[in-house]
């Protein structure tokens, strides 16, 4: 009874500050409010990324699942992202995961406009309100993440950064991005990469010590991607492709590969899910070789339907030209599909050799790999494959390994502004001085904010910890 009333009290204060969607609470009928007696080793993590639900992708999934598993481990996790359409303000997701949708519009590629100091007031308020100990940023392309990490560093928070992508060193865009990376990572406590290749890349780009960079791969929710019980039988072999149809994902390779495979194997059919500028080329190819009955173009596939598309096939094909990790392979393997992929980036590290056939990014080699895969197919049992994936990849394992990184980050010594500045100064002849200037301005702005709105005046949020398994409790009661 006491719990209920105090909860309602807090509920009203919540309402004053933000909009909340509480529909999921109907399922749970018991809340426990704990007032600051969590054990010291528990972290209070702020995840920052421009990429988050309602979008779907590698980074979005990573942030969501990692947060969920960290919550289960008893840590507090808060996510900050920019507003998506009408989704603005504070929302709660499954398991009491609190998400701040900062009301800024994305301006390019789902990223917010880089303002450097624009985010400082709101990030500072969130950091103080939620009594955060570790700030965890995701993805190089996320400007919100860079801004937040920079400001959190100036305020003396421990900072962890996860890199989800690979960059070259040749073109102008990459050179600029690498300089920004160097700036953000110059002072980061620990960094995480999703594959060993990605780690090599990040170390080279940012000049970070290799010991500071951890390799923690993505995982897959094997419960969501189960093989179908009744496998499509008959002599027909279905090859599934699910990717955005863009140059980087190797759509041009598909245009060369598909007619050749169709010519060699009359019993092969292709299902292509995904949309993009290269779709026209695929349609042209289908018309030119009159493969209307053998190549299905589904268009964009919503994430909830990916499994149903996957289980209709035997082989999963991905022709990406660059890939740090490739989560699609995991989802396909978890559905019991044999994967054929190009040997690029971190892909060779993702699966054991007997679960994937790798090929060079060359049409002839890919056709050969598909032939190898077709000959391997009778030996593949989807259920066995799924069970193996359950052993190999697990989000809980990812969360536990990330926990270690947080522990390490917290052990890093605190540094004064001068020590930080000397580190920034060494980033480059001109860039170093520019970085220092940015940091000093940020420092001044932070102190101005301290005067204007003292930290003591900012109300702290009481921790609402939902009992671990609402569903279990309800089922026990009923």
């Amino acid at each position: 009874m006491y719990y209920h009333s105090s909860f309602l009290l807090n509920f009203t204060t919540f309402f004053n500050t933000a909009t909340i969607s509480f529909s999921f609470l109907v399922a749970c009928n018991r809340y426990v409010i704990m007032m600051d007696d969590s054990p010291p080793q528990k972290h209070r993590v702020l995840m920052v990324s421009d990429f988050y639900y309602p979008n779907f992708g590698g980074v979005e999934n990573h942030v969501y699942y990692l947060s969920q598993c960290l919550l289960k481990l008893g840590h507090k996790v808060v996510v900050v992202t920019h507003a998506y359409g009408k989704r603005s303000g504070v929302r709660y997701m499954t398991g009491g995961l609190k998400v701040y949708y900062v009301p800024w519009r994305p301006f390019f590629n789902q990223s917010t406009f880089p303002t450097l100091y624009g985010v400082l007031p709101i990030i500072r308020t969130i950091l103080i309100r939620e009594r955060i100990t570790v700030v965890h940023g995701h993805q190089t392309f996320s400007t919100l993440c860079h801004d937040a990490l920079l400001n959190a560093r100036i305020m003396g928070y421990k900072v962890v950064f996860t890199d989800h992508s690979l960059h070259g060193f040749g073109d102008v865009g990459s050179i600029h991005m690498n300089k920004v990376m160097q700036f953000t990572l110059a002072d980061v406590s620990q960094a995480i990469c999703v594959s060993h290749t990605s780690k090599e890349n990040t170390v080279l780009r940012s000049g970070l010590a290799p010991e500071k960079v951890f390799v923690i791969p993505n995982a897959v929710d094997t419960a969501m991607f189960k093989p179908s019980l009744d496998r499509p039988s008959g002599s027909e072999i279905v090859i599934v492709i699910i990717s955005r149809l863009v140059y980087r994902k190797g759509a041009d390779l598909l245009v060369e590969v598909i007619p050749e495979v169709c010519r060699l194997h009359p019993n092969v059919r292709f299902i292509i899910g995904g949309d993009g500028p290269k779709r026209v080329r695929l349609e042209e190819m289908r018309e030119k070789h009159s493969l209307f009955d053998r190549v299905d173009l589904l268009g964009a596939v919503p994430h909830t339907q990916v499994r149903s598309v996957l289980i209709s096939g035997h082989i999963f094909l991905t022709c990406s030209l660059t890939e740090a990790f490739c989560m699609a392979i995991l989802e396909a393997a978890s559905c019991g599909l044999l994967t054929v992929s190009t040997r690029v980036g971190g892909v060779p590290e993702v699966l054991p050799d007997d679960m994937v056939v790798l090929a060079e990014p060359d049409p002839g080699d890919i056709v050969q790999a598909i032939q190898t895969a077709i000959s391997m197919l009778p030996k593949i049992d989807p259920q066995v494959m799924h069970d193996r994936m359950r052993e190999l990849y697990n989000w809980h394992d990812v969360a536990k390994r990330t926990e270690i990184v947080y522990d390490r980050a917290l052990k890093c010594p605190n540094q004064s502004l001068l020590e930080c500045l000397s580190r920034y100064l060494s980033c480059g002849a001109w860039a170093g001085k520019l970085f220092c200037l940015v940091m000093i301005l940020s420092f001044l702005f932070w102190h101005l904010l301290e005067l204007w709105q003292p930290a003591d005046d900012i109300e702290e949020v009481p921790d609402v910890i939902f009992s671990k398994n609402c569903d279990e409790d309800t089922s026990q009661k009923s």
């Binding site: 594959s195 290749t197 090599e200 290799p210 030209l321 990790f325 054991p352 697990n394 390994r401």
Partner: protein
């Protein structure tokens, strides 16, 4: 739970040599996993693991010092820490460059192996350049500089009425004929239809220009001459800066490739500059003559020089050097200071820049590796 007494075989090998904990664990492990082959393997191979003992911070024990309870404990430790069941072929966990299977036993996630950055290749596609070759290549830049200088020379002479309209038209015609002849001799495809095509186009071009000449003449009457000169000069600098020195913007017929945006801007800048200059002239015929001259040079000179260069490099060299000498002598007659400026510009382009390029070559640093985007080995024709 595991029952240690039941699992351990009766005849435990008596090994006098001190073992690390890890080795002892491995001796127990095969029985636990019920793999007899492995058991023999361990007896034959005196494996001493170092990583594990360091991680547990336990020092060296003789195997026999474990009692049953101790053994049970160790087995439980294995069950927790080692997942050797999957790779039973290698008894000692070696670090592998893989992302699957969770944290690798005995290694932290920030472990950096010797194979780190193994796939990195530095300066793979860097071409060592030769000083002489770079100098010879830069001749085409100075050649075009001279051509533009000659055009400016003709402009100033016409404006100061050193050249009258008849000689201007004579220059136009002779340029047209000589350019035409060079094109015909250097290009292999010499046919009647092509000739007709050229003649038709050029006559159309000349007619339109003649009709438009009065408009050009009065186009910028309300603007002062100083502004016109300033704008024309800056447009010419823009033209030189964006000019495509490796090829010609106006293509020979039958070429598929489209010119780049920058070279189009360059051509347009030069055309606008010549219109501005033409608008300062006194008569219609002057305007027509100067417009025809500038357009001929700006549009077709790159094509002609390109054809010469393609035909024979030696001829290109001779042509360029004679052109340079001619331009320098003309400029010397006009103005001493301009002569010095042009000469130093030519030296800068032909000697200083190549030397500079060769010198900064050593700072070239190119990194390639498995993270690079793969290049497609075929052409995409959209």
């Amino acid at each position: 739970m595991l029952n240690a007494e039941q699992d351990i075989p009766d005849e435990v090998p008596l090994i006098s040599k001190p073992f690390t904990v890890y080795t002892a664990l491995e001796l127990l492990l095969p029985t636990k996993l019920n793999i007899p082959g492995l058991w023999n393997f361990f007896l034959l191979n005196d494996v001493v693991g170092d990583n594990f003992s360091i991680r547990l911070s336990l020092t060296v024990f003789p195997y026999n010092s474990f009692d049953t309870a101790g053994r049970t404990e160790i087995i439980e430790l294995i069950a927790m820490d080692l997942s050797l069941a999957n790779n039973s072929s290698s008894p000692r966990p070696r670090w592998r460059k893989v992302a699957y299977g969770g944290m690798q036993p005995g290694y932290d996630d920030n472990h950096t192996d010797e194979s780190f950055l193994e796939g990195m290749v530095m300066n793979a596609s860097v071409v060592k350049r030769d000083m002489l070759k770079v100098m010879l290549d830069s001749v085409s830049i100075s050649e075009y500089l001279c051509i533009v200088a000659l055009v400016v020379l003709v402009w100033t002479c016409t404006l100061t009425t050193t050249i009258d309209e008849n000689s201007l038209l004579f220059i136009d015609v002779s340029l047209l004929v000589s350019g035409f002849l060079i094109l015909l001799f250097t290009q292999e495809m010499l046919s009647l239809s092509l000739l007709l095509h050229y003649v038709l186009n050029i006559s159309f071009f000349i007619t339109v220009l003649y009709v438009l000449a009065p408009i050009y003449q009065t186009l910028t009457r309300s603007i002062s001459s100083d502004s016109i000169w300033a704008v024309a000069a800056s447009l010419l600098v823009l033209h030189l800066f964006l000019h495509d020195y490796s090829e010609s913007t106006v293509k020979a017929p039958g070429v598929l490739k489209n010119p780049a945006l920058t070279s189009c801007i360059s051509v347009n800048a030069s055309v606008v500059a010549s219109v501005f200059i033409a608008s300062r002239l006194p008569s219609r015929l002057h305007v027509f003559g100067i417009m025809l001259f500038s357009l001929q040079v700006f549009l077709f000179a790159p094509l002609v020089t390109y054809c010469i260069k393609k035909y024979s490099f030696r001829m290109h060299l001779c042509f360029s050097i004679s052109l340079m000498a001619m331009t320098l002598s003309f400029v010397y007659m006009l103005h001493r200071l301009l002569f010095v400026v042009l000469l130093s510009l030519l030296v800068f382009v032909n000697v200083v820049c190549p030397y500079w390029l060769i010198r900064i070559q050593e700072y070239k640093f190119e990194i390639n590796g498995p993270w690079d985007e793969a290049k497609l080995c075929f052409d995409i024709t959209d």
